[in-house]
Amino acid sequence: MLELRELVKHYPMVYGEPVRAVDSVSLSVARGELLAIYGPSGSGKTTLLMLIAALLRPDAGEVLVDGRNVSELSARHAARYRMRELGFVRQAVNLMPGGDALDNAALKLMGGDMGAREARGRIRPLLGRLGLQERSAHRPEQLSMGERQRVMLARALSTEPKLVLADEPTGNLDTQRGGEVLCLLQEICRERGAAVVLVTHDPHAASYADRVQALRDGRLVEYEPSCALAPVNGR
């Protein structure tokens, strides 16, 4: 479903050598599979997700989604790809403060050809599935952090994407709540046959994945669960 071929992304710096955020990364993810990419901060995880989401252009290599190279899409087609084929769950929970959980979850549907009323109606079952039925009329400030993250998850899954990218989705949650969110993500994506790429620096979160790979200094390396719990670079 998703295939990365020799993907490279460097950031030029004013002083010194360019940063190799992603360096010759190749991997593939099958439909219904949850791949975790484990790595410490600054290892290039978020850049990798941006490349897959066609938000950044690689310096070299290809991002193939169902055989189509999305990194060559125009801005407009890339936007359509993100809207229809991709769900993006991010770490920072930027919910619209004035809207309730329904509005926030339906934001992506409203961006399609759906009217506001229809979009709110369509998102209700998913919110229920995520345990937010009773909280759907609550505003962000009335929701707990875990509930807010589930609203973001609902937004990402609202268009039934075939590929879901999750950037540290449990970064702000405790282990139990984080686990709940990941279980739901895993469950729903498996049901829908969607591929999931989860990037995390939390070995516990990585343990929910079907497969785990590690990213270090922009390069994919073999994931070793015992090393994951040790300090990075021996520090």
Partner: protein, 840 residues
């Protein structure tokens, strides 16, 4: 994207930023209200003159007009009628009159005419029923004026024209038939013969209105020009409108300039308010882009923000502007009413409304979209890229930008002072670029001083000020203060300069003698109505305290499309013009040329119309056209269309009349002007049409009239100051309220309410102090720009004086009032429960 979704998104987001949105609405509305109100008062003045003029002349095409109040022989009428192509000709006598009733007096334009004029002309004359009055010895006045002087139909009034007073009978006027716009026009209508008697002008006319047969305009015009023989004016029948528009132009220009600056200040308030919500909206854009929204969809979402903001602001601005124009910006023509009949009808044109709505929409679009243009239009690459390290220190770039803008401002000041609005824009840009540097410097300086100030509050205030996360908000608040003070200082000081300039004219022109005697009536405040002064002069000269009586002559003269004020002091007067009114040429040479005769001092605007320089000769279009030379160029002496100064003897020659328009009375040393004035009044008798004024009283009257004419500018400067204080307080209040979670955090850390409250005050004080002081300094530069623009564009006498006191006053008023107001929401905000911080 469906409209319902866009609207839903708008509503949802509005809930979270209602305060900022209201504040932005307030800012744009204030600017629009000022623009609209000044537009309405300008169109009302010009429009009412035009309506009155059209109401009088109807479908007449041309007019043959006398160049002075003495008119011309009525036998010219038959010559005009005999011009081939003339379909009809109507004789008219016009004179400035004072109608006096039991409750007071009013200045009106007396129009003497005949039934044929009533048949051929506009509604004004037709509806006043002159035809019915043809044989009557009666005067018809608009009901509003009759009521104002305490008279009604069939009662008698006194009519004073020049030095003559005669009783007249009022006849019923039919308000139902008169259009509302004309009913209040200061016009009195009488049969021609009766008007000639009242004015003492038997057999004289002031104009002949002509209607030509189709396609004979050229022939008729040539015939009229032949008859005029260079001593009468031939021009379009409705030329008064053109003359008035020219006369009102400088006031409109100065009002327009001030309104534009006010609107700019209002817009910047709005812009700063919108800046407060930029981080929030940037997050939204980031989310939308991640979720696959296209650029177009994002612009649609934001455009609805701008649309709603623009529409709401425009509606409120128009309503508020309408109220302003009713309550404050009364279309007061000031001294222009001395030379033109101006109606009191308020005229709102569609173009004024359209201009304001377009301005509101543009301001809203710029305010909403401009701060986010980077987020909307940046490529995916630049928007989502992890930022690298910034090169060097950003403050150097800001300083360089500020220096560039300042240089542009100075260039405009030196080379093109008329482009004041552009100059103010570049000055504002310089101010805004300099502000972050100043705040950093103040924060750094204050941090170094902290050791000497007891308590945690100053320490916390500096930490908050230096926090990058608060930077955009802090800058927005300081910028609002800076712009508020900048706007009010620039407007107030340049307005002060203008008033001071007019005051100096009033003083310089009136203090040439101890007492002034001239025909009474408000319309004659500038002593422009001639009268037979021989008997009054003889009576006055006999009084014991009187040293000398000299003849002053003056009037209005149409030169091209300018109705110029002619000032003709006695030849032997020591200082014929206030020295600071000279803008080109030597004062000594100008005065000696004035005494020698054959020279005039003319306003720069009149000179530039005719491409005249000092020393050039030109033909003055007076009743007896006379060649004179330009002795020097002057300001317009406060009379917007321009002025001409020549000695009274040259005037008598060029006008072919020895009648004075005022008597200048010099008193013997030690004689009190007030007591002497009382003696003069009793010598002239209680029913005398002449009034006696001391030089000081006349100067005060001039000053009051000048102030009245510039009242719109005064009102604008006050409103900008009020708006500035309110905007500052609202902005700081909103910002403090947004800070509650952070205050809750600090409470958890053990800081008590008092410390937090004082921290807020310190922080506000530092921000406002920096912003307002910079605004005050730049306001003084703005004063230089605006004052020079007023001199260059309008030709008004402007006396530049450094407005330090006003700058300090505005700075203190805005910053202190804002801080006092901030103390209240600050107090409430510090009551926040610490639990707010602990909620996840």
């Amino acid at each position: 994207m469906k409209l319902s979704s866009i609207v839903r998104l708008y509503r949802v987001r509005l809930r979270a930023r209602i305060m900022q949105e209201l504040f932005a609405v307030l800012g744009i509305s204030i600017g629009l209200a000022l623009l609209f109100a000044s537009q309405v008062s300008s169109t009302s003045l010009g429009g009412s003159v035009e309506q009155l003029s059209n109401g009088l002349v109807g479908h007449m095409r041309f007019q043959l007009t006398a160049r002075d109040t003495h008119g011309f022989d009525e036998r010219l009428l038959s010559r005009v009628e005999s011009i081939p192509g003339v379909k009809a000709a109507a004789p008219v006598l016009e004179a400035s009159a004072n109608v006096i009733g039991s409750a007071g007096a009013r200045s009106v334009e007396l129009l003497g005419t005949e039934p044929r004029f009533a048949r051929l002309s506009g509604e004004q004359v037709r509806n006043f029923g002159v035809a019915k009055l043809a044989q009557a010895k009666a005067l018809m006045l608009p009901a509003s004026i009759a009521r104002a002087i305490g008279r009604s139909s069939l009662q008698s009034v006194e009519v004073q024209i020049g030095g003559r007073v005669a009783p007249a009978l009022l006849v019923p006027e039919l308000p139902g038939e008169v259009p509302a716009s004309l009913a209040s026009g200061p016009i009195a209508i009488a049969p021609l013969a009766y008007a000639q008697t009242l004015a003492g002008m038997k057999g004289r006319l002031s104009s002949i209105f002509v209607r030509s047969s189709p396609a004979h305009d050229r022939e008729v015009l040539e015939g009229l020009t032949r008859i005029a023989a260079g001593r009468l004016n031939v021009r379009p029948a409705n030329f008064d409108g053109t003359l008035f528009n020219r006369a009102a132009q400088p006031i409109d220009q100065s009002t327009g300039l001030f309104s534009a600056i006010s609107a700019l200040v209002g817009f910047l308030f709005a812009f700063n308010a919108l800046l407060l919500s930029v981080p929030q909206r940037r997050h939204l854009i980031e989310d939308l882009r991640l979720d696959g929204y296209t650029r177009r969809m994002i612009v649609e979402v934001l455009f609805v923000d701008a649309l709603v903001l623009g529409v709401v602001s425009s509606v409120i601005g128009l309503l508020f502007g309408d109220l302003l124009s009713l309550a404050l910006f009364d279309a007061n023509p000031g001294y222009l009413s001395f030379a033109f009949p101006i109606g009191a009808h308020r005229i709102i044109t569609w173009s004024s409304v359209a201009l304001c709505i377009a301005g509101g929409m543009l301001a809203a679009c710029i305010g909403v979209l401009a701060p986010l243009r980077g987020a909307i239009f940046s490529t995916r690459e630049t928007f989502f890229r992890t930022p690298g390290r910034r090169r060097g220190n950003g403050n150097y770039w800001l300083l360089a930008g500020a220096a560039l803008c300042m240089a542009a401002t100075l260039l405009i000041l030196a080379l093109s002072p008329a482009a004041a609005i552009t100059g103010v824009l570049s000055l504002t840009a310089a101010l805004l670029l300099l502000l972050p540097v100043l705040i950093d410097t103040v924060a750094l300086g204050f941090a170094r001083l902290q050791g000497r100030i007891a308590g945690a509050s100053p320490y916390l205030a500096v930490i908050e000020l230096r926090a990058r996360v608060n930077r955009a908000r802090s800058l927005a608040v300081a910028a609002t203060g800076a712009i508020a003070v900048f706007g009010s200082v620039a407007i107030e000081t340049s307005h002060g300069d203008l008033l001071e300039g007019l005051n100096r004219v009033a003083s310089g022109l009136n203090r040439t003698s101890d007492l002034w005697v001239s025909p009474s009536g408000l319309a004659n405040s500038l002593a422009t109505t001639p009268f037979d002064g021989s008997s009054a002069s003889a009576k006055i000269a006999k009084l014991p305290g009187v040293k000398a009586v000299r003849l002053y002559r003056g009037s209005f003269l149409d030169i091209g499309d300018r109705r110029a004020w002619v000032i003709a002091p006695p030849r032997d007067v020591e200082a014929p013009l206030p020295p600071d009114q000279l803008v080109e040429g030597s004062l000594t040479a100008a005065v000696s040329r004035f005494h020698a005769g054959g020279w005039v001092i003319i306003s720069r605007a009149v000179a530039s119309d005719r491409h005249l320089r000092v020393g050039d000769s030109f033909l003055l279009p007076s009743p007896r056209p006379t060649v004179l030379r330009v002795a020097a160029l002057s300001t317009n002496f406060g009379w917007p269309p321009g002025a001409i100064v020549l000695n009274a003897e040259d005037y008598a020659r060029a006008w072919g009349s020895a009648d004075p328009s005022a008597l200048e009375v010099d008193l013997r040393p030690g004689v009190s002007p007030v007591l002497a004035a009382r003696e003069l009044r009793s010598a002239l008798g209680p029913r005398s049409p002449l009034r006696v004024q001391t030089a000081l009283a006349r100067e005060q009257e001039f000053r009051a009239t000048a102030r009245q004419g510039l009242s719109r500018l005064t009102q604008i400067s006050i409103l900008v100051l009020i708006a500035a204080v309110l905007a500052m307080a609202a902005m700081m209040g909103a910002m403090i309220w947004q800070r509650r979670p952070r205050l809750a955090d600090m409470k958890v850390d053990g800081f008590d309410r008092g410390v937090l409250w004082r921290t807020l005050l310190w922080e506000s004080g530092l921000l406002l102090g920096s912003g307002c002081s910079l605004g005050a300094a730049f306001g003084l530069l703005g004063q230089t720009l605006l004052s020079r623009a007023l001199v260059t564009v309008t030709g008004f006498p402007v006396a530049f004086s450094p407005g330090l006191l006003i700058a300090v006053g505005s700075f203190t008023l805005v910053s202190l009032t804002a801080i006092v107001i901030i103390a209240i929401p600050g107090g409430f905000a510090t009551r926040v429960r610490p639990a707010l911080s602990l909620r996840d």
